[in-house]
């Protein structure tokens, strides 16, 4: 059944493989530095111009991801519930979300959702609702969270279902409640299974935040566009923006890999 033996893989082999991939990260960072130093115009100007966009991208990713981790678990547990109504509602939610492109969902939340609320306000005669205005950052995080929670719930669900049924039964037969069994027995084991796909979701989410540039959020992608538009240079902004995304995704991949190795060793 289980074959993982902590002492099997030599730590040295693992360490060198980590180092090699970090080299790639450093190579990309070095390339950015070289470009900025060798050709400050336009690369340094671009970097300075888009740096607040990097921050917005990171902030949006982090906040959305934390919410996705929580909401995804709730959805997964609801879908595994014995109550058919709960299960049904959340199954429909996941199926709907998975059938609509992320970009369309973001457009919906930003453009369609506020007037729906305002119209509702008109018919309910509620000034608070009539004057409702969408905050782009908020709507972007909302849209990404609702979308990615559906994806994440599938990751959780697969992980939870990969744990043999006997584990839950043993826990319950010792008198634990369902949630105690989940928390102390099932999830700690499922974490190891779901860590790689969760890491992938994070990286995909990070890249997909570029879509929020179309709903008035000044993320890295939008800032790149703005620089291109105001300076009439089409090539260099996208080189710089690409390199900045690459640094973020490569570092994320390394961190995910590191956590994965660590949980393996601890076992």
């Amino acid at each position: 059944m289980q074959t993982a033996n902590p002492s099997q893989a030599s730590p040295n082999a693992r360490k060198t493989s980590i180092d090699q991939w970090w080299l790639l990260v450093f190579a990309v960072i070095a390339l950015i530095v070289i470009l900025v130093i060798a050709q400050p115009n336009p690369y340094q100007r671009i970097l300075i111009f888009v740096q607040d966009g990097v921050w917005v991208t990171l902030r949006t990713t982090m906040i959305s991801f934390v919410l996705v981790l929580i909401l995804g678990l709730v959805v997964a547990l609801a879908r595994l519930s014995k109550l058919w109504l709960l299960r049904g509602i959340f199954t429909i939610y996941v199926e709907i979300i998975r059938g609509i492109p992320v970009l369309v969902q973001l457009l919906f939340w930003y453009f369609a959702f506020p007037p729906i609320i305002q119209n509702l306000g008109t018919s309910l005669n509620s000034p608070a609702l009539i004057n409702y205005k969408a905050d782009p950052n908020f709507m972007a995080i909302l849209g990404l969270t609702i979308c990615y929670a559906a994806y994440m719930s599938e990751v959780y669900r697969a992980g939870i279902q990969s744990i043999p049924k006997g584990q839950m039964e043993a826990a319950r037969s010792l008198g634990m409640t369902y949630f105690q069994a989940m928390r102390y027995v099932i999830l700690p084991q499922a974490i190891r299974v779901i860590l790689p796909p969760v890491g992938n979701e994070f990286i995909t989410l990070l890249k997909d935040t570029s879509l929020i540039s179309v709903v008035a959020v000044s993320d890295l992608t939008r800032r790149g566009r703005e620089f291109m538009a105001s300076n009439f240079i089409p090539i260099q902004p996208w080189i710089m923006v690409s390199l900045l995304y690459l640094v973020m995704t490569l570092i994320s991949a390394r961190v995910v890999h590191y956590i994965e190795q660590k949980t393996k060793i601890e076992r």
């Binding site: 289980q2 043999p164 006997g166 584990q167 037969s173 010792l174 634990m176 190891r192 076992r267």
Partner: protein, 245 residues
């Protein structure tokens, strides 16, 4: 064996889709009794055992454990803390050490202090004969050792009843006896036990009653010596001739 039975099973039916796994089972188990259940594969032995602590819901009938009827969720948890269960596949928690396996439910269900729970766990490990494995992970133990840890883990909750579902069938032959010895000792101490097992030696040594199940029903029950050597029902004879060769 006076007064109320500690387990009262009355006309219990269980269906899985169109499989009628239990068809009207009646059984009373008294305090301190050891019952061994035998029967062909698919006859409903596991299902009956699992109904006693409601790992399986039944469709009809009534089960009362230690005076607690199995109906509301609160009752089910109350019953589960009174009833320990040992599984064929051990079902130890692989991410926890042996000691942590035995501590977990004591801490979060019984709310014992760490010191008290640890003391109880170490005592029990001593009792099942593996005091030196407390800090190992289950995967580092032999099957027989894992099953003894599973027994210790169940006993740590101070159950009044212990259920065993084929506790030795997943074990290599040379490890069967060490587990049976622990069970025998438990029986001698007066634990109420319901054991699904085809270990005739254990049944003869420990059981007050042996029960043959077939096709979701109790076909025959008698003291083990009588049931094994002098069965009345044809179905019992047929089954025993297969098991005993």
């Amino acid at each position: 064996m006076t007064s109320e039975p500690i387990i009262h099973i009355e006309n219990v039916h269980k269906r899985f889709g169109n499989v009628h796994a239990l068809r009207g089972v009646n059984l009373d188990v008294y305090k301190g009794e050891v019952i061994v259940i035998i029967g062909p594969s698919g006859s409903g032995k596991s299902t009956l055992l699992r109904c006693i602590n409601r790992l399986e819901e039944f469709d009809e009938g009534r089960i009362v454990v230690d005076g607690i009827p199995l109906d509301t969720a609160a009752n089910i948890n109350a019953v589960r803390t009174e009833v320990g269960m040992v599984f064929q596949q051990f079902n130890l928690f692989p991410h926890l050490t042996v000691l942590e396996n035995i501590l977990l439910a004591q801490r979060i269900v019984r709310k014992r202090s760490k010191e008290e729970a640890t003391r109880i766990a170490l005592d029990l490990l001593h009792k099942v004969g593996i005091p030196d494995k407390a800090h190992n992970y289950p995967i580092q133990l032999s099957g027989g050792q894992q099953q003894r840890v599973a027994i210790a883990r169940a006993l740590a909750m101070n159950p009044k009843i212990m259920l065993f579902d084929e506790p030795t069938s997943a074990l290599d032959p040379e490890m069967i006896q060490e587990v049976l010895d622990v069970m025998l000792a438990l029986a001698r101490e007066g634990m109420t036990m319901v054991v699904v097992s085809h270990e005739m030696g254990f049944a003869r040594a420990a059981a007050h009653r042996a029960i043959l199940m077939d096709d979701g029903q109790i076909v025959e029950e008698a003291p083990p010596d009588v049931l094994f050597s002098n069965p009345k029902q044809e179905r019992t004879k047929a089954f025993l001739s297969k098991v005993l060769h």
